[in-house]
Amino acid sequence: MSLITGTPLGNVDSQEELYLEGSPYIYIQDNSANPLNNPDGDGYYWGMSGTAAYPAYALGCVSDVSLTEDVTVNAIRCDTIGDKDALQRRNYVDFVFTLSTMFPLTTIRHLLGLSTPTVGGGLEKVGIGSISNTRYYMVYAPKVYDEDTGDYLLFHLHRAKPVDAWTIGMGADGWKITGLKLRAFADDTKPSTQKFGVIVRADPSAIP
């Protein structure tokens, strides 16, 4: 309930009394595949559809999930009055998380930059070699925030790759892979207003 005293007059938009908790599920897929909506009726590119050639991978037990961006800020500084403006450029968007599920290796090898695995005879073998710098992924992260109605929020990033060093912690409190970072770069095959990705919220009771 807003303050009766001191509120602005006129057209005022307020935020919703709705609080979210818990992380989204995270899925990755080779971005050689097309998103499920390519585009949808409103021109947005989002969603994921796994194929035999390009399967989608569901990441298991994720924790400490955050989404952040990197921005370059260049100040326009005048010697007369100081900064007049700040010009900003978004460089990338990072999905950062910790993963507690290790298997199968055919899934985590995409996050750890390992070689194509060989599977058979009860064995799964993967090599720790050079990191491929030519492979990019779509990242799709849906979060159902109202389980009664199925209302959800999702994040879709077009062109991401795992960056930075990972650590596999082998403690008594459970193995965890930390330092995982999926960095989404601009995809200039998409419209400029959504070149990094798309956020979609579905809530028919609150959105006309």
Binding site: Y25, A52, A58, T101, P104, T106, P117, T118, G120, G121
Partner: protein
């Protein structure tokens, strides 16, 4: 001047039946008898053995199609990678192959 031979006396061949284009021969060694195509769904170099035939099948990457002995189909399409799926995954996840 040499006597010319009587060309009318030479036996000319007689064609039995009507003239027609030679029928296409079936080359049985190229026919996939008793084989069915299955496709790999896992992005890995899969090496599996047929449960009935014992044949070794190799699928170098996801989407690879290989013709396998149809007696091996049931065992191959029921193969899964990994145990119990985690965290909201589809119960049909991680099957290695699908029938084309």
């Amino acid at each position: 001047m040499a006597k010319r031979s009587n060309l009318q006396n030479i036996n000319t061949p007689v064609v039995d039946g009507e003239l027609d284009i030679a029928p296409t021969r079936v080359t049985p060694y190229n026919k996939l008898i008793g084989k069915k195509a299955i496709r790999s769904k896992i992005d890995a170099n899969l090496i599996v053995n047929g449960a009935i035939s014992g044949n070794r099948y190799v699928f170098p990457k996801a989407g690879t199609i290989v013709y396998v002995d149809e007696r091996d189909i049931d065992s191959l399409v029921s193969k899964r990678l990994g145990g119990r799926s985690c965290c909201g995954a589809d119960t049909n996840a991680n099957f290695l192959f699908e029938i084309v």
